[in-house]
């Protein structure tokens, strides 16, 4: 559950992603994961996620 008032903007963005139902659930989930990873850890955080996926871990994240 998202923390209230952590950032209303992030909350709104995440809601917007969720509202895009034409994309499958996994894509939406990955988009949110990448967004939060970038917010918290920057570019390296995103690269780490993609590297893990390339190695076959976590493709369904």
């Amino acid at each position: 559950m998202r923390r209230k008032y952590e950032s209303k903007l992030i909350e709104e963005i995440l809601n917007l992603i969720d509202s895009r139902v034409e994309y499958d659930k996994n894509t939406r989930k990955l988009a949110k994961t990448i967004l939060l990873a970038f917010k918290n850890e920057g570019r390296k955080g995103v690269e780490k996620i993609v590297e893990n996926m390339m190695e076959g871990k976590n493709l369904d994240a």
């Binding site: 950032s7 903007l9 709104e12 963005i13 992603i17 493709l59």
Partner: protein
């Protein structure tokens, strides 16, 4: 919940440039001005508000660029950071945030002086209703953002606006997805698959199992053939080996035969050179030498050797006779050595005896000479004894003379006394003319005096002279006798010495006789030893000759025996050679067959090896091909997966972009009305009536364009090409203030950090007026270097609605804070 929180007071200690505590009392002022030069701590005051509310700072949370740690927020000269912020709205909220160096931070919150106990951070967020990032976007306005919006080009302006709208996060997230990395991996896998395809193409007909089967049959057939040939080759080899062995034996026998022949010739040559000696003659010689040796051994007391020679009275000519003679020769050598030793001893003895004889003779001569010197004392002593008697008699006579001399001495003294008395008496009588004797008192007559005088004269001239003469005679005799006595005693000494010498001489003569005998005996011994030595030397020579003769005798005997043996051997070799048969034609035929077989075998083996190599290669290729297929399948699976991932990520990117557009539309829609409302409050002239901000999509990124509606003709005109700097600034400020309430929250203040940098006086005035005219926020913080702002604000909002703090450098203690208005 409280609404519209304003700051009542702020106390900072140990934060950034602040060391000692500094307090800012803000009362109900609308404008709070923080004036001071660069680095005086103005921005630190604004950051202290941020830190008090969120326990962090943009410089700590931001990604990329320079990132600070919480520790960096603590003043270098202090170990404790403490910020106390009092917010005032419907309720009074006191926030105390502290941090000790090296320790985690702590937060205390008091709501209307009552401490909040559980989850204080969450409580604070609920009170202010705004997250940290939203706070930075909505409450804090930095001059750089203003500058980018007013003066920046389309991209820079758009980036600044995207940042304000929070769209920049989506854009950066979009860009951060490393599609290139996936692409590279896809290319790498495609390349690897291509390489594997090439390898497979090279391997070629690996999938022809019929060929392998046919090869296996060929190989087996060839192996059987080789086995048959090898068996035949073995048989031929065994026959050849037997024949070669016979031939070898024959050659060896022939070699032996010729070698023995040459030995026989050599022995014959030697026999010609060795002298033939008669056995009888040599036995006679041996017996003679042995007899002589026995005699010498007995003479030399070599009894053991002599007995040994007697053990075998008869001489037998065996090889050990030489050994026996060598033993005798050795004993003879020992005898020679003994004799030489004895001779040396005898010679040394003779020399010693001769030396001792010479010494004794020398002594004898010396003694005789000394005796000769002393012999006359004996005659003198006889004469003196004859004349004066024995020394005892002389001593007695001296004693008698001495007694007589004493008597005479006494008499002489008596006469002298009488003479003296007479003289005294006569002199007194004559002088005193006395008639009486002064001694006895008797009357004196003249004759008496005369008598006395005569008597005195008689004593003086006669008696005394006689006595003295007699005494002198006696003394002379005593002296003479004493001299004689002394002489006799001296002679007696010499005679005793003479007697001693004569005894010594006798002893010496006895010794000389003894030494002389010894010397004679030594010379005799020397003669005997020399004679024995001559005999021994003669025997040695004879023994040596005899040993030589015997050696030659036995050598000849041995040569003859060897000759007989060799002749016997030669006979037996001849017989064996005659028995051995050798068929050369059969041998050559077998040899030819062997060579043929070897050639065929070699060719077949080469053929087999080649077949096996080919077979192994085919098998290996088959294995490799299987492996390549397996790897290729794996790579293809991975490639498929990566392509899927790539599409997946592309979809994500697309989604992010779409969300970005959605958000932009939402944001623009949301701020448009607020922006116009604010703009109308700020800009009261009729020439510009409405503001609009539009997003234009370009291939690279979306850009923003701000338009304003002209009042005169109702046309929308772009602000960047048509409006003045001041007008643009007002529109930008309207935009920023509209963002202030983009999301609802409980904060009723705004923080402007250097908003007037690079902005001229007129524009400043306009901005300040604009800010003064807005309804919300009701508390405006302005941090600036420009002191003239104070007068401007005074003029615009009045003295009562403002507070100005001047900040100056304060060294280690931190900035000095002075309220100037």
């Amino acid at each position: 919940m409280p609404n519209g929180l304003k700051i009542e007071s702020l106390e900072i200690k140990g934060f950034r440039s602040f060391n000692l505590p500094r307090k800012f009392e803000l009362e109900d002022a609308r404008f709070i001005l923080l004036i001071g030069p660069i680095g005086s701590g103005k921005s630190s005051v604004l950051k202290a508000i941020e830190y008090a509310l969120y326990g962090s700072s943009y410089e700590i949370t931001r990604l990329g660029l320079i990132r600070l740690k919480h520790e960096d927020m603590v003043n270098d000269f202090s170990d404790l950071l403490n910020i106390e912020l009092i917010l005032k709205g419907e309720h009074r909220v006191r926030i105390v945030r502290g941090r000790k160096r090296g320790r985690p931070g702590r937060l205390r919150v008091y709501l209307d002086n009552m401490p909040v106990k559980n989850d204080v951070e969450r409580f604070l967020r609920d009170v202010i209703m705004l997250g940290h990032e939203d706070f930075l976007r909505e409450i804090v306005i930095h001059h750089l953002i203003l500058r980018d919006i007013v003066e920046g080009g389309p991209v820079r302006r758009s980036i600044a606006l995207d940042r304000l709208f929070g769209i920049e996060l989506l854009e950066q997230s979009y860009k951060s997805i490393p599609l290139t990395m996936v692409e590279k991996k896809i290319l790498e896998y495609e390349r690897k698959i291509g390489e594997l395809n090439l390898e497979l193409a090279k391997i070629g007909a690996f999938h022809d199992p019929e060929r392998i089967k046919s090869m296996e049959i060929d190989i087996n057939r060839l192996r059987n053939r080789i086995e048959t040939l090898q068996r035949e080759h073995k048989q031929v080899e065994s026959m050849l080996s037997e024949m070669e062995e016979t031939e070898l034996r024959r050659k060896l026998l022939l070699e032996r035969y010729y070698s023995l022949k040459s030995q026989l010739e050599e022995i014959d040559g030697k026999l010609d050179r060795v002298e033939e000696i008669s056995t009888v003659e040599i036995i006679s010689d041996i017996e003679d030498v042995l007899e002589n040796a026995r005699s010498l051994f007995r003479d030399m007391l070599y009894e053991e050797m002599a007995k040994e020679l007697y053990k075998e009275p008869r001489v037998v000519l065996k090889e050990d006779i030489i050994e026996k003679l060598n033993r005798i020769l050795l004993a003879m050598n020992n005898i020679m050595k003994d004799l030489e030793y004895k001779l040396d001893n005898q010679l040394n003895e003779r020399i010693e005896y001769k030396r001792r004889y010479d010494v004794l003779r020398g002594k004898q001569i010396d003694l005789e000479s000394e005796i000769e010197k002393l012999i006359h004392y004996r005659y003198e002593y006889t004469d003196l004894v004859k004349k004066y008697g024995l020394p005892d008699d002389i001593s007695k006579r001296i004693e008698e003379y001495e007694a007589e001399l004493l008597k005479l001495g006494r008499k002489n003294r008596q006469l002298k006394n009488i003479w003296d008395l007479l003289k005294v008496t006569i002199d007194r009588i004559e002088l005193e003319k006395r008639t009486k004797c002064p001694i006895c008192g008797k009357e004196l007559v003249s004759e008496d005096l005369e008598k006395m005088r005569r008597r005195r004269k008689e004593i003086e001239e006669k008696d005394l002279v006689n006595i003295i003469r007699k005494m002198e005679e006696i003394e002379s005799k005593i002296n003479e006798l004493r001299d004689i006595l002394n002489r006799i005693r001296g002679i007696e000494e010499n005679i005793r010495r003479l007697e001693e010498l004569e005894l010594e001489k006798e002893e010496l003569e006895r010794k000389i006789t003894k030494i002389s005998n010894l010397l004679h005996h030594a010379e005799e011994n020397i003669h005997i030893v020399k004679d024995k030595m001559r005999r021994a030397r003669y025997l040695k020579e004879r023994l040596s000759d005899l040993i030589e003769k015997l050696t030659t005798y036995f050598e000849r005997k041995s040569l003859l025996e060897r000759r007989r043996d060799i002749q016997k051997n030669l006979e037996s070799i001849k017989e064996e050679l005659e028995k051995l048969r050798y068929e050369e034609s059969r041998y050559l035929k077998l040899k030819k067959r062997k060579e043929e077989l070897e050639k065929i075998l070699f060719e077949d083996k080469v053929k087999l090896e080649s077949l096996l190599r080919e077979y192994e290669k085919l098998k290996k290729d088959l294995e490799r091909a299987k492996d390549f297929f397996k790897r290729k399948e794996q790579l293809e699976r991975k490639l498929e997966y990566l392509r899927k991932l790539y599409k997946y990520l592309e979809n994500v990117r697309k989604l992010l972009r779409e969300v970005q557009a959605d958000l932009r539309v939402r944001m623009l829609k949301r701020i448009r009305s607020n922006m116009n409302k604010t703009f109308k409050q700020l800009y009261v002239h009729p020439d510009l009536v409405e503001v609009d901000i539009r997003a234009i999509e370009t291939p690279k990124r979306s850009v923003y364009e701000i338009y304003v509606k002209r009042g005169s003709d109702g046309t929308w005109i772009p602000i960047y090409s048509k409006l003045s700097d001041g007008q643009r600034l007002m529109i930008a400020l309207s935009l920023l203030l509209s963002i202030y309430k983009l999301y609802p929250h409980n904060i009723d203040f705004i923080l402007l950090d250097e908003p007037f940098a690079n902005i001229n006086g007129e524009c400043r005035r306009s901005i300040l007026k604009l800010l003064a005219n807005t309804e919300s926020p009701s508390q405006i913080f302005i941090a600036t270097q420009d002191e003239s702002i104070i007068d401007l604000v005074k003029k615009i909002v009045g003295k009562d609605n403002m507070i100005a703090y001047k900040l100056t450098y304060g060294g280690i203690e931190g900035p000095k804070v002075t309220r100037i208005c």
